[in-house]
Symmetry: C2
Subunit: 537 residues, 2 copies
């Protein structure tokens, strides 16, 4: 980027819009030698500067949102107000800011965007644009959603507060998922491992298909009564089923933690929600991708088998990578025992190795988020014990902080997108159908599997536990991130809008109702954790 | 970004280069309806996926570099090897990786970049490209340097490991500078505040002009003997003077810290190097920007006055913003005293407020880096005392870690750019001239000012102190970042190449020679810090 002149206290640079009319005749004639090139350069730098300042301003809005959230969380904790957890609160603040940005502030359209109508047949990852002999590199940020009338929505401000969805998968979700793995109460987790795996794998797949089939019925009906505004294939239904089956480990478990709920219920719910995030992410990508490159959106047996193979491969591969890095860190911290004398180095090493899991998995075509989950679990199991006491605290606190910031950021952003997203498709029939499907999908997951598991368990999963698991299946960060990842088509837009509402409902209503629900179901609280020293005490 | 199919364990997607020849006839004909659009979409997604995987791989290389650095640092500390500090070490590893990437690995040129020769007269911040009816958003990444023959250097791999220079100013430098401010030993700093300000402001300006004038002589001479390959104006000389006057607080002071060097010398050197970074960053931008928009590169009196005004304005503005945020955080942590019960919330708040300083300054057109410096100092002075003991430790450790990672990252990157940067201009005459100028500029800064200061100081700055300050003026992260910010012209490229060498020399030779130098100059070491409890004990 050209060196940007940034120092304008009191001396505002003429805004690009003001400048252009004067420059336009000069620019259009073009090719007049160095003078114009230099002028172009100044204009370019000013636009880049202006753009940078706007980006800083919008990021600042988010930071202020988070700060406000923190102060309110403290207030709630102070007053022991348990009906609105921090994630629900973050969403509300996000909503408020969204309202303000959408309806309160009116920013004149700047003309700093240029639409190129070039003879390009595919959008490459990088563009080199030749501007009067100077080359500028542009990177593909993403596809711009089009409204129903195929016009490019160009409310620039709203577009600027819209993040590239990959930010969630590359920056925000990894700390959250890693922390979930790192703070797992291992003893109870492994004691219930069979049930957890059942719920997480079989349960998610069941839920996915049940919801998918039900939704297929819904959209078919909608098509018949002329309520469907675009294509909505069976694979889209399955995709919806996959993404909405991912339950969120954050909200409910924070409540469970505070109340010190029965450790087995905690382990079941936590383990299930953490693993089903991983399952959902792989499942949804399998469903969305047609391996044959065939666009018929049909469902073939060979495709199913191939999908299963890919699922297995990616999941195991990510699992293996995550564990390998965890074990390697453990070995390094074991052999370089004297690293204990330098907690800064030890913590830095730990952080870097964990981050490298993510990058390694992504570079190999695996799922980074799944890999960091298993890395976190492995680190908690092995590496943690090799660290000095100081480093144990430091790493725990570091990831706790990253997790806290990332999760509140995502939930704020969720609230914001209700208003900032410009291609919402709210269809009452679809929404009602979706809520019912989600409810039934969860029921089809929990009750039959619990029944089967109870045949084999000594410590039965009581009906009250099952009801709580049913109720406390909140949807959150992962569902949101998966639904926002691609909103190019009508179907995806409708799914995104509906998913938002589902998340809002489960986090506010189900989340808020958790505490009364627990007493209503007579779940034991205030239970002493009887396990040995672990990460998540 | 379109949903990217990522799951290919064992089933590698056909590389884009393989695919294109088959698709080309289809693509070129174009406009054949949905089938081709879908195919384009798949190709696009694969390119984006491929690009993402490469980015992950390259970032992984850096992480591995840092990990290696950490392990070696530990080894050195363990063996008490003081001749190569961690920053010098990071640079060596960076060099090694640079050599490997440049000469060892040969990656076939992929054709995933497209050069658009469009009728654009200025490069906007955002491009919307129309590809067969779908709109893709591209953001300006930066200008691509051209070699002497004006060909676009398109070694794609080397370009991929080259970061947008703004990454330094937006992500890497803020934690470093904040930490410098936060860990300042305040008592000794304020005891020597007059001298520190003199060195930092007057000294940097003196150094800038001395070096600028000397270099102007050098390049004029080079022009006469026909050794100058392009334009090199007086403002370029001043710019060089400004950026190379920024001394680095990192390396030497880590050594001073370990040896517990005399507290006044420590304060002088640390205070000076931290503040002159701030001065240099503002000064260099003033020099580079011609307020009149006049491209004559001449130096006019009005411009000088205006520049001085802007300097004062920006510096004071950043100072004010930094202090304001620091004070606000202090007030919040004071009134919300019960936040102490929740160290996570307190730490999160602290982190967010500090980050917001940076964004606020940037949004207002000030310098974020300067603002965070004063924010850090204010936080250390006021807010720190309001935090709970737990939060004091947490914040200190958090910023210590961020600082550590960021600084080693920058120094590794420095080593790497010796080989990855594709437009180096190494001119022996310029290099020798630059080394001499830098040496003389430092001398012109230290000795005369020390003499003047000693007229007023009770506790004189001895000649041995002055010699150490002369010797220990290492150049590092700030100089590097400022020089790499804009490498579009011949002059800037030559400056960048020379600056790299200066940094290498000062960090390895002067840095390595610090310990012997200290004993040679009979500087007291092992001194007990006699101040009250502060952040940086």
């Amino acid at each position: 980027m050209g060196f940007t002149p940034r120092r304008y206290l009191g001396v505002k640079p003429p805004s690009p819009t003001l400048l252009l009319p004067f420059l336009l005749p000069v620019l259009l004639v073009g090719g007049q030698g160095d003078g114009n090139a230099a002028m172009d350069n100044v204009v370019t730098e000013r636009m880049a500067e202006e753009s940078h300042r706007q980006d800083s301003a919008y990021l600042l809005i988010f930071i202020m949102l988070l700060t406000l959230t923190i102060l309110t969380i403290w207030l709630f904790k102070h007053r022991r107000f348990r009906f609105l957890h921090e994630t629900g609160l973050a969403m509300i603040y996000g909503l408020l800011v969204g309202v303000i940005l959408r309806f309160g502030i009116h920013v004149p359209q700047s003309t700093s965007d240029v639409v190129l109508e070039c003879a390009v047949n595919a959008s490459p990852a990088t563009l080199l644009v030749n501007v009067s002999g100077r080359f500028y590199e542009y990177t593909l940020k993403g596809e711009v959603s089009r409204g129903k009338d195929h016009q490019v929505q160009d409310d620039e401000m709203l577009r600027k507060v819209t993040f590239d969805p990959e930010v969630f998968f590359n920056i925000l979700l990894p700390p959250i998922i890693f922390h979930a793995g790192y703070s797992l109460k291992r003893r109870h987790f492994f004691r219930n491992i069979g049930s957890i795996l059942t719920y997480a794998f079989m349960g998610t797949v069941i839920s996915c298909f049940v919801i998918g089939l039900l939704m297929y019925g819904v959209v078919s009906f909608m098509k018949v009564v002329g309520q469907l505004g675009g294509d909505f294939f069976f694979t889209d239904c399955l995709f919806f089923g996959a993404i909405v089956s991912a339950t969120d480990p954050v909200t409910v478990l924070a409540i469970f933690n505070e109340l010190k709920v029965d450790v087995d219920l905690y382990a079941l719910l936590f383990g299930e929600s953490v693993l089903n995030d991983a399952v959902a992410i792989v499942l949804s990508s399998i469903v969305a991708y047609q391996p044959t490159g065939d666009n018929s959106h049909s469902f073939e047996a060979m495709a199913v088998l191939k999908s299963f193979g890919i699922f297995l491969g990616v999941f195991s591969g990510s699992f293996a990578l995550g564990m390998a890095t965890g074990v390697m860190t453990a070995l390094i911290s074991f052999y370089f025992t004297k690293l204990r004398d330098f907690p800064l180095l030890e913590t830095g090493l730990f952080f870097l190795m964990s981050w490298s899991t993510f990058l390694l998995a992504e570079a190999c075509g695996m799922t980074g988020v799944v890999a960091v989950l298993f890395c976190g679990m492995t680190q908690a199991h092995y590496t943690y014990n090799n660290l000095s006491r100081d480093s144990q605290d430091r790493t725990k606190q570091l990831f706790e902080l990253l997790n806290f910031l990332a999760e509140n950021f995502i939930f704020s952003y969720m609230g914001l997108t209700l208003f900032s997203f410009q291609s919402h498709v709210f269809n009452p029939m679809f929404i009602i159908g979706a809520f019912l499907a989600v409810f039934l999908g969860r029921a089809a997951n929990i009750y039959p599997l619990s029944f089967l598991l109870n045949l084999g368990r000594r410590n039965k999963i009581g009906m009250n536990f099952q009801h709580v698991m049913m109720f406390a299946g909140l949807r959150g960060a992962m569902t949101f991130a998966l639904s926002i990842r691609d909103t190019a088509t009508y179907a995806r837009q409708m799914m995104f809008s509906t998913t938002l509402l589902i998340v809002f409902f489960t986090v506010w209503i189900c989340g808020g109702g958790t505490t009364p629900m627990l007493s209503f179901m007579s779940i034991p609280v205030g239970v002493d954790s009887d396990q040995e020293h672990s990460v998540s005490n």
